[in-house]
């Protein structure tokens, strides 16, 4: 069966060039970078080079890159690290209602410790208003955390504007930049943030590695204790194969970025246009233009997300749904709800996220395959778009 992977926001395949690098550092150059001997020094040098490559890719200095096990850890380190380093300087954190759970649940944990959390609302397209950040800042504010692009609906946030506002008030700024890496160029110095989280497995590097950008001078407390690794900010034997592979993935991403941005954008627009043409009542979630090139997210009223996914899967198409129906939680997407979408509609979201290897022919196959699935599920549904809801909230 034809297999079409359209879930690149969940994870990406490791690029062969990147996997070969990882393999080498697992089997041949497997030294521990803290060791004095040749295998150890080789690992240390490879890691230094990877750090330089990663830094170059995001417009930072090598010493500003702290490798972690992924973006969940990077988000946690940024938020807990700033909070726990704040001391008497304040206990108020501003974030948005549409952040990834790695940010939101970390803020929840801090709230239980006594921190005050402001979760800013978003508009119907998922954007936060920079002036709302300005209004929310008070003398106790120590951190603003706003994602660069939303992982569900692809909306880009005005992070540069927000960073300017916050930093003018002396407030540290963090952004979860996970989804942008490899899709759009990133220049952190220009963006003006103090902290930014990235994940390897969203950009054709392996799972289990990511990094936190920490602008020189940012006050941050380590959250994991042990060895002297990563300038004492993150203990633990470094994942050398993962880190070196991530360095390679950054080089690759940088080489290809113009092509990839254009390629994803064209596939995205083809897919959106096709869905709008072929599926009655479908509508696009998120901002039309301030949007990740690789993100298509729609609601299809009258159909539940998981049911669509299962049918698509049987046709070889791997997609996802905001409903995260099987992911432990059965709740509708907090992102779609924050954008003002009703529960029953939010349960019918479909996310198709594109990657560098997808083709126009694959998009066309999706456009042929999906409409009959929707028709079939709608025919079976206990309610129809346009009808009054026959079930009680």
């Amino acid at each position: 069966m034809r297999r079409i992977y359209l879930d690149h926001s969940a994870t990406t395949p490791v690029h062969p060039r990147v996997a070969v690098v990882a393999m080498n550092y697992m089997m041949n150059d497997y030294g521990n970078s803290s060791s004095v001997h040749a295998p150890g020094r080789k690992a240390a040098e490879a890691m230094d080079e990877a750090r330089a490559r990663v830094a170059e890719f995001v417009g930072a200095e090598p010493r500003e890159i702290i490798f972690t096990s992924g973006a969940t850890e990077a988000d946690n380190l940024a938020i807990l690290g700033v909070a726990h380093a704040a001391g008497d300087r304040g206990n108020h954190i501003i974030t948005t209602a549409v952040e990834h759970h790695a940010v939101l649940h970390t803020c929840d944990a801090l709230e239980k410790e006594g921190f005050r959390i402001t979760r800013l609302p978003v508009d119907a397209e998922g954007r936060v208003d920079p002036s709302a950040v300005e209004d929310a800042i008070d003398d106790d504010t120590i951190l603003v955390s706003v994602m660069l692009a939303n992982n569900e609906v692809g909306t880009l946030q005005p992070v540069a504007e927000i960073a300017e506002i916050a930093r003018a008030r002396g407030v540290t700024v963090h952004t979860d930049a996970v989804q942008v890496a490899g899709q759009l160029p990133v220049d952190l110095a220009e963006l003006g943030v103090d902290l930014a989280s990235f994940s390897g497995h969203k950009m054709y590097a392996p799972k289990g590695v990511g990094f936190l950008y920490v602008r020189r001078g940012t006050r941050l407390k380590a959250q994991m204790f042990g060895g002297h690794h990563e300038r004492w900010l993150r203990a633990g034997t470094e994942n050398v194969p993962g880190i070196v592979a991530l360095g390679e993935a950054c080089v690759l991403a940088q080489e290809e970025i113009d092509y990839v941005t254009a390629h994803l954008t064209s596939l995205r627009d083809r897919l959106i246009a096709g869905l709008e043409e072929r599926i009655p009542d479908v509508f696009v979630n998120g901002h039309r233009t301030e949007r990740l090139p690789g993100n298509v997210n729609v609601c299809i009223p009258g159909v539940e997300g998981e049911a669509m996914l299962l049918h698509l899967d049987m046709k070889g198409i791997a997609a996802s749904s905001g409903s995260a129906c099987t992911s432990g939680s059965l709740e509708a997407s907090h992102v779609l709800l924050a954008m003002g979408i009703k529960h029953e509609i939010a349960h019918g979201s479909l996310r198709l996220t594109l990657g560098r290897d997808n083709t126009a022919a694959e998009i066309d196959y999706v456009l042929e395959t999906l409409p009959p699935i929707v028709e079939n599920l709608r025919a079976m549904s206990a309610w129809k778009p346009g009808d009054e809801m026959p079930f009680e909230d």
Binding site: T326, L330, H343, M380, A382
Partner: protein, 128 residues
Amino acid sequence: MYTDKVMEHFTSPKNVGELENADGEGRVGNPVCGDMMAMQIKVEDGVITDVKFRTFGCGAAIATSSIVTEMAKGMTLEEAEAITNEDVAEALGGLPTNKMHCSNLAADALHNAIEDYRRKAAGEDGEQ
């Protein structure tokens, strides 16, 4: 994550649709949880002679709806009332644990339909 039996009922659900002149109708679920089922029955001499359902929901919701209609058809009302959500899950070879609560409501829908039938029947009786 789903058993073959679940996938079978999900992909080829039995008894989808609406009955003309249903004797009883049940609804369970709500927009928040994301699973909503409507079930209709036809009853003759205390036996369920036909059942149809419509469901908005995930794989488990559709599969449980389908199988419960197959189970109920031909049963007496009392037998059908004795079907539990657990029986339904078991008939499908099991369901993922996180689906046991929200999406496994088909037996409830059937019971609601039977209750509706009994209420109406009592009303009709009353009118006679």
